[in-house]
C-alpha cells in the first residue's frame, strides 16, 4: 500500500485541474470530484497508517528529476514512514470533512467550483510537503500552499479588507520563506544533496560542520516561523480569518500551519544537533504562546479567538520540539487538528446561523443549536486540556517533557535547562489562560440570553456530520498516545528512537488539571451572565490598549517595514525601473535612431560623394594592404 502513497497527493492535483477546466459544467458544481479525490486518498492514508501501526518499515522511492551533473541531482521522490503516515491521515481526514462541510456552507457562492478547486490544490500541496523526500520538493509543496492560502483567504475579495488580509498573509509567510530557502541551500551545499536522509546522515556523521548546522537550522526555522505563525511573524493569522470558515478550519487549524511543525519534526536530528537553535525555538515559542493567549482573551470575533488560540497551540507544539519532545509535539499536532478543526467548523455553523462573527451578538445558543453546542463543547474542553479528551493527553505530554528537561534533569535534550524551565512555566500559565478564554468563549456564545437579531437555528446535516465525526476524534484521539504501540512508536525513525509518553507523572497531571479547571471556573464566574458592561480588562487601560493594539506589533510592522518599503524602497525601485532599466531599453532604440540620423548622410544621393568614398577607400586599402600586411 505504501507504493500507492503517491496517489494521495496526485488525485487532488488531478481534481484541481479537472475542476478548473470543466468544473462549472459538472452537476453540483463539481464538488463531488474534489471530495472523491480526497476520499480515495483518505482510504489509502488509513491503510498506510495501519500498516505502520502493524510494524511496517519505512518506504522510500526516488527518481532523478533533472540531471545537473557534477554529482548534484535534483531528486523527486517520497518517503512513507510513520511521521508521514500520521500526517497523511490528519490532512486527508480534515480535508475530506472540510470539503463535505463546504458543500453546504458555500452553497450559492458565486465561486463555488473555484473554491473546491483551490481546496484540492491546497490539499495536494500539503500532501507533497508531507511525502517529500527532499527539501526542494518540500519547498515546492510549501509554496503551493502559500499561494493557495492567498487565494483562499481572498475568496471574498470584493471587500478590500479581505484582499489586504490575503496579501498580508502571503507576504508575511514569504518573509519566512526566504529564510527557509536560504536554509535549504545551506544544507544542500553542505551535504551535496537535497535529500533529507542524506542531510540527516551528514549531520549525524559530523560531515557538516556545527556552525553550518546551526546556521542552516536557524534559517530553516525561519520558514516555520512564517508558516506556523510564531512570534514575530504571527500577525497574519488573525487577519486570515477574513476567509471563509472552512478555509480557516482546513488551513489555519489543521494543515498549513502545521507544516512548520512538520518541517522541524522531519529535520529533527538536524535541530537536535544544534542546541542553540532549539533554545531559540523554545524562547520564541514561549513568547508566542503567552501573547497569543492574552490576545485571545479580549477578542470579540469568535474566529479571532480561535485564530489566536491556534497560534498559541502551535507554539505549544514548537515548544515541545524544543525541549526534546519529538513525539509530544507531533502528538499535539495530531490532536489539535481534530479539536481545532471542529471548533472552526462549529463556529462556522454558528456564524451561519447568527449572521455575525461577533460574540457580542451571540449568546443563548445552547438551546437553539444543541448538536453544535455539544460538539463545540467537546472541542473546547479538549482545547482547555480536560481529561480524558484528546487535548489533555498531548498537552500533558508536552508539559511532562518540559518538566523533565528543565527540572528533573533528564539531560538528554539538547536544549539548555533554563530554556526548558521557561517553557514549562509559560506552558503552565498559558494552560491557565487557555482555559480562561475557552470558558469565556463558551459562555458568551452559548450561555445567557441571545443578544443578536433574528432566530438562529441548527445547521443542516451536511454541516453537522463533519462536526460529529470530529467531535468523536477530539474525544478519542488522545488514546493514540497511550500504550506501547502508540504514536510515539509510529513516528520513530532510525535517528529518533521511539519516545513514548514518559511515565505518567501523576503529580503533574493533578497540577495541570487543577490549573485548567481553575481557568474554566474563573471564566464561568466572569461571563456566566453574558457580556459584561465593560470588559474586565478594560478597567486597566494600559493593558487593554496594549492588547487591543495586539502589542503594537502590527503598528510596528506597518510603520517600520511597510512604510519603509512602500514609502521609500518601492518608489526608488520604480524610478530605477522606469529610468535605468527602461532607459537602457529605450536608450538602445534611441541610440540606434540617433546613429541612423547621423549615418544617413552617407546616402546623400549624390554620385560624386559615392565616388569620393570609393576612391578614398581604394587609397586606404592600398596603404593598409601593402604597408601593414604585405610589407
Amino acid at each position: 500500500m505504501e507504493k500507492l502513497a503517491w496517489l494521495v497527493p496526485a488525485l487532488p492535483l488531478v481534481a484541481w485541474a479537472v475542476l478548473l477546466l470543466v468544473g462549472r459544467r459538472l452537476p453540483g458544481g463539481g464538488a463531488a470530484v474534489g471530495i472523491l479525490a480526497v476520499a480515495v486518498g483518505w482510504v489509502i492514508s488509513l491503510a498506510i497508517l495501519f500498516g505502520v501501526i502493524g510494524g511496517a518499515d519505512a518506504y522510500h522511492v526516488s527518481t532523478e528529476w533533472t540531471p545537473i551533473g557534477a554529482g548534484f541531482e535534483i531528486p523527486f521522490g517520497m518517503t512513507v514512514d510513520g511521521l508521514a503516515a500520521v500526517l497523511l491521515v490528519v490532512v486527508t481526514t480534515v480535508s475530506l470533512l472540510v470539503q463535505l462541510y463546504s458543500v453546504s456552507y458555500m452553497r450559492g457562492d458565486e465561486r463555488y467550483t473555484f473554491f473546491f478547486a483551490k481546496l484540492s490544490l491546497f490539499t495536494a500541496g500539503m500532501l507533497i510537503v508531507v511525502l517529500a523526500d527532499n527539501l526542494l520538493l518540500m519547498l515546492f509543496g510549501w509554496e503551493v500552499m502559500g499561494v493557495c492560502s492567498y487565494f483562499l483567504i481572498g475568496h471574498y475579495w470584493e471587500d478590500v479588507a479581505n484582499a489586504r488580509a490575503a496579501v498580508k498573509a502571503f507576504l508575511t509567510t514569504r518573509v519566512g520563506d526566504l529564510g527557509f530557502m536560504a536554509g535549504i541551500f545551506v544544507f544542500a551545499w553542505a551535504a551535496r544533496s537535497f535529500e533529507i536522509e542524506r542531510i540527516i546522515e551528514g549531520v549525524a556523521t559530523g560531515e557538516i560542520s556545527s556552525t553550518t548546522v546551526t546556521l542552516g537550522a536557524a534559517l530553516l526555522f525561519c520558514g516555520a516561523i512564517g508558516k506556523s505563525g510564531q512570534f514575530p511573524l504571527h500577525t497574519w493569522l488573525p487577519d486570515a480569518m477574513a476567509g471563509p470558515t472552512p478555509v480557516s478550519a482546513l488551513i489555519h487549524a489543521a494543515t498549513m500551519v502545521a507544516a512548520g511543525v512538520f518541517l522541524v519534526a522531519r529535520m529533527y536530528p538536524v535541530f537536535e544537533a544544534s542546541g542553540s537553535v532549539l533554545n531559540e525555538i523554545g524562547i520564541l515559542a514561549s513568547i508566542t504562546m503567552l501573547i497569543a493567549a492574552l490576545l485571545a482573551l479580549v477578542q470579540d470575533d469568535i474566529k479571532r479567538v480561535l485564530a489566536y488560540s491556534t497560534v498559541s497551540q502551535l507554539a505549544y507544539m514548537m515548544a515541545a520540539l524544543s525541549v526534546g519532545g519529538y513525539s509530544a509535539g507531533i502528538f499535539h499536532l495530531f490532536t489539535h487538528a481534530f479539536f481545532k478543526a471542529l471548533l472552526f467548523l462549529a463556529a462556522g455553523a454558528i456564524i451561519h446561523a447568527v449572521h455575525s462573527n461577533n460574540m457580542s451578538e451571540m449568546g443563548g445558543l445552547a438551546r437553539a443549536m444543541p448538536v453544535t453546542f455539544g460538539t463545540f463543547l467537546v472541542g473546547a474542553l479538549a482545547l482547555a486540556g480536560i481529561a480524558p479528551l484528546a487535548g489533555f493527553w498531548s498537552k500533558d505530554e508536552i508539559l511532562t517533557d518540559a518538566w523533565n528537561a528543565g527540572f528533573a534533569g533528564a539531560g538528554e535534550a539538547a536544549t539548555s535547562q533554563s530554556v526548558a524551565q521557561i517553557v514549562f512555566v509559560t506552558g503552565m500559565v498559558t494552560a491557565f489562560l487557555t482555559a480562561l478564554y475557552v470558558g469565556r468563549m463558551l459562555w458568551l456564545t452559548f450561555g445567557a440570553a441571545f443578544r443578536g437579531q433574528g432566530h438562529p437555528h441548527e445547521a443542516d446535516a451536511a454541516m453537522l456530520f463533519p462536526l460529529v465525526v470530529l467531535a468523536v476524534g477530539a474525544a478519542l484521539a488522545g488514546f493514540a498516545g497511550l500504550g506501547d504501540n502508540s504514536i510515539g512508536t509510529w513516528i520513530a525513525t532510525e535517528h529518533l528512537p521511539a519516545h513514548g509518553p514518559a511515565t505518567l507523572n501523576l503529580g503533574l497531571i493533578v497540577v495541570t488539571t487543577v490549573v485548567a479547571l481553575t481557568g474554566l471556573a474563573i471564566g464561568t464566574a466572569l461571563y456566566r451572565r453574558g457580556l459584561p458592561e465593560r470588559e474586565y480588562l478594560e478597567r486597566v487601560p494600559v493593558v487593554w490598549k496594549t492588547l487591543q493594539r495586539k502589542f503594537f506589533l502590527d503598528d510596528l510592522y506597518e510603520q517600520g517595514i511597510v512604510r519603509a518599503v512602500a514609502g521609500a524602497l518601492a518608489p526608488a525601485t520604480y524610478w530605477f525601473d522606469q529610468r535605468a532599466v527602461d532607459g537602457v531599453v529605450n536608450g538602445a532604440g534611441l541610440g540606434t535612431r540617433r546613429l541612423a540620423r547621423g549615418l544617413r548622410y552617407v546616402q546623400s544621393g549624390q554620385a560624386q560623394w559615392y565616388a569620393a568614398a570609393l576612391f578614398i577607400g581604394v587609397v586606404g586599402l592600398a596603404v593598409v594592404v601593402t604597408q601593414l600586411i604585405g610589407g
Binding site: 560624386q608 569620393a612 576612391f615 578614398i616 581604394v618 587609397v619 592600398a622 596603404v623 601593402t626
Partner: protein, 164 residues
C-alpha cells in the same frame, strides 16, 4: 637621355597639362578640346611604347568618335559657361583635390617602390598581325563578348534617347 625619352617627356608634358586643363577649365567646349589634345598625346605615347595599332585605334575611336559624341552631348544639353555653374562648391573641390593628390601620391610611391629601376627594352613595333593573331586566337571569347556589349550599348542608347 635617349631620343625616345625626350619625345616621351614632351608628350607627357603636353598630355598632362591638357588633362589638367580638362578638369579645371571654365568652358565646356574648351574642356572638350583640351580632351582632344590629351587623347592625342596618349596616342603618341602608344607609338613610343611600340603599339602602333593601339595608337591608331585611339585616334580613330577616341578622338574621332567619342569626343564628337561628347561635343554633341554638350550641344544638346545646352552646356552653360562659368565656374559657379560648372564646378562644385569650394569645399567639395578641396576635398576632391585632396583625394586626387592622395591617389597620385599613393600610386607613385607604390609604383616607384615596385618598378623603380626597371627599363623598357628597345623593341620593334608590335606587328598588327601578331596583335590580330592574339586577339582572334587566344582572346576570341572576350572579343565576341565585347561585340555583343557594343550591340547592347547601341540598342540601349537608341532606346534611351528616343523621343516618344
Amino acid at each position: 637621355m635617349t631620343g625616345q625619352e625626350v619625345a616621351f617627356l614632351i608628350l607627357a608634358l603636353i598630355g598632362g597639362l591638357a588633362g589638367l586643363l580638362v578638369v579645371t577649365s571654365r568652358n565646356v567646349v574648351h574642356a572638350a578640346l583640351y580632351l582632344v589634345v590629351a587623347l592625342s598625346s596618349v596616342a603618341g605615347v602608344y607609338l613610343l611604347l611600340a603599339a602602333p595599332f593601339v595608337a591608331f585605334v585611339q585616334v580613330i575611336i577616341y578622338v574621332g568618335a567619342i569626343v564628337v559624341l561628347i561635343l554633341f552631348g554638350i550641344m544638346l544639353t545646352r552646356a552653360p559657361v562659368g565656374r559657379r555653374v560648372l564646378d562644385n562648391t569650394l569645399r567639395a573641390r578641396v576635398g576632391a583635390f585632396v583625394v586626387g593628390a592622395g591617389m597620385f601620391v599613393m600610386l607613385t610611391v607604390f609604383l616607384a617602390g615596385a618598378f623603380g629601376g626597371e627599363r623598357i627594352a628597345n623593341q620593334a613595333a608590335t606587328a598588327t598581325s601578331a596583335l590580330g593573331e592574339s586577339l582572334f586566337r587566344n582572346y576570341v571569347l572576350p572579343f565576341e563578348a565585347v561585340s555583343v556589349l557594343l550591340l547592347a550599348a547601341l540598342i540601349g542608347a537608341i532606346v534611351l534617347a528616343r523621343r516618344d
